[in-house]
Amino acid sequence: MNDEEMRRQIHHALDHRLSGMEDSPWLARRITGAERKQTGMNKKIMVALVLCLTLLLAFAGVAAALNLNVFELFSSRQPRLQDIAAASAVEGAPSVTVENERAGRSVVTVTNAYYDGESLLIGYTVENEQYLERFTPTEEELAQMEAAAPECAPMAFEKGQEEFAQALQQAVANGTPFGVKKIQTYIADHTMTDGGVDLGPSTGLGDWTQDGTFLNLLDYDELPNEVRNQPSLTVLLPLRQTVALAYWDGQGQYYFGHTEQTRAPVALTVRRTAAEALRYEGKATVDGVEAKVEIEISVVKARAAFTALEEDFHPLDAEGPWYELRLKDDKGWEMADNGWTWEDDRHMSFAFTGNGALPSALSAQLLMVDGEEIVDQTEIALAPVP
C-alpha cells in the first residue's frame, strides 16, 4: 500500500464511519456569546492588541562581528560545528547583492560550506534581511488588502524594530492610522545543483546579530544518490525578495500578502573534504534472534543499519514495544537521534547528528520501548572495521 492509497483509506474511514458525529451549528455562537458575557470585550481586545503588537521574538541575539563565520557562531548550540568551522570557511565568500529602491542594498554571503560526500551543510548571512518603513495605502491599495484578525498585527516585529512596534502601539491606543511596509530578502527552499538536481529538504538554525544581520545554517537531509561522493558540488541557493504591507486604520487591520521577486541565485562550489568516516560493526541477540549492527560515522552525522540474521524477526507489533537505538561516543556523549526508517521485516536504519570529532570508540544499546517506558535493552559490542 503506497502513501496515496493509505491517505485515501484513512480519509474514507473517518469521513464515512464517523460521519454521524455531527458538528454543532451553534458552537461558535455559544463560545462568542459566553465570552461576551464574561468580559468587557472592546477593552480586552485593545489590551490584547497592544500586547500582541509588542510581542518581540525572543532571539538570543549574537554579537555583531565582521567576517562572520556562521558555523562558529552556532557551535555553542551544536558542538560538531566547532570541529568543521575552520575547514569549512568559504574562501572569497560567494555573495549576491540585491538592490531595492526602497530597502537599499541587501547582501547574501555564504560563509561556510561542508561536504564530505554524504553530508552537506551551508552557513550564510543576509545583511539588511528586513527593511521596514511607514506606509499609508491609497484607496485602491486598501481595497486590495484583506481584513486581518482585529487584535493582532499580521506583521510581527523582530529585535531591532522596537521603534515600529512602539509607534503602532501608540496608534492603536489613540485610534489613529498606522501602516508598515516590510521588504524581506531570503533564501528559499529547493537548493539545486548546477545539473538540476534538487537537494531535498534541510533543517537548520537561524538567528540575528544585534545589527539585524540574519545568520542561517542549512543542514541537508539524506542527499540524493546523484550528488553523493562527488569530488565537488556546485549548488544554487534560490534568492527571493518579498514585500508585505500591513495597515491599522484606527479600527481594524488590513494585510496585503506577499509580492515576490526572484533574484539571481547564490552560486557556490564546495569541494569534498578529506574528512574521514569510520565504520563500526557489532552483533547481538535481540529477542532471541541474532542481529548485526553496522555504523558509519563522520564528524557531522552517523547512520546505523540493523539487520536481523534470521527470518523470524518481527519487530512490528502494534500491541507491543518498539525498538530504538542509542549511540554514545568515547566521551560518553549520546548522539542526537535524527530519524528512523523501517525497511522490511529484517532491516531498520537509524540516523544521528554527529558529536564533532570522530570517536575512538563507540557503544550502542538497542532499547525496547513501550510508549515512554524502556522495557528492555541490549548492549551491542561494537568494534571498528578496518
Binding site: 474514507h12 474511514a13 464517523l18 460521519s19 454521524g20 461558535a28
Partner: protein, 172 residues
C-alpha cells in the same frame, strides 16, 4: 448605506468562519486521538474556546489549520493525562459511535480499529499527515517536535498500520 462593522463583530465573524471550516474534521481527528466520541465533543469545544481566547496570538506564521491542530492535540493530551482515562478501553468503541449519515464499508471499521491501536504519538502523526493533510513541517509545528521526529513517527506508524491492515485482510 452599509453599516461599518466594529472590531468585535469582525472578530466573531472570523471565528464563526473558522469553526465552520474545521469543526467536522477536528471532531473526527479528536475522536481517533481519544478513541471516545463523547470526549471528542468536549475536546473540540475546549479547543475552539482556547482558540477564540487566543485568536490574537495567531500571527499567520503557521497555517490556520496547523495552529488549530496544535491546540487540539494539546487539549486531547491533557484529557488523556487525567487519571480516570487510563481505565478506559483504548480501542475505538465502534458500538458507541453515532449512526453514520453516509454509507460505510467493513474496511472503514478495520482502518479505524487499526488506527486506534497505534501508539499515541504515532496516531497523532498519522492523523495530522494523512487525514488533516498537513505537511511534515506543519505537523511538526502542531505537535511541537522537529520535522525529522514527525518523519520518524510517521514511518513507524505507516509500517505498523500497513502490517496490521495486511493481517486483517488475511483474517477476512
Amino acid at each position: 448605506m452599509e453599516a461599518v462593522k466594529g472590531p468585535d463583530t469582525q472578530r466573531e465573524e472570523a471565528f464563526c468562519d473558522l469553526v465552520g471550516r474545521h469543526q467536522a474534521a477536528l471532531l473526527r481527528t479528536c475522536c481517533c486521538i481519544l478513541n471516545d466520541p463523547q470526549l471528542a465533543q468536549d475536546a473540540v469545544q475546549e479547543t475552539f474556546l482556547k482558540a477564540y481566547k487566543a485568536f490574537g496570538g495567531f500571527r499567520k506564521e503557521s497555517s490556520e489549520k496547523t495552529w488549530l491542530m496544535r491546540i487540539a492535540v494539546n487539549t486531547c493530551r491533557d484529557m488523556k493525562r487525567r487519571a480516570w482515562f487510563r481505565l478506559v478501553d483504548r480501542r475505538m468503541p465502534l458500538d458507541r459511535l453515532p449512526e453514520p449519515s453516509v454509507p460505510f464499508t467493513p474496511r472503514d471499521d478495520t482502518v479505524l480499529q487499526c488506527i486506534s491501536r497505534l501508539p499515541q504519538k504515532e496516531r497523532e502523526a498519522i492523523l495530522l499527515y494523512f487525514y488533516q493533510d498537513l505537511t511534515l513541517e506543519e505537523a511538526g509545528q502542531a505537535l511541537g517536535v522537529p520535522r525529522s521526529t514527525v518523519n520518524s513517527r510517521l514511518e513507524r506508524a505507516k509500517a505498523r498500520l500497513k502490517k496490521m491492515l495486511e493481517g486483517e485482510e488475511q483474517d477476512e
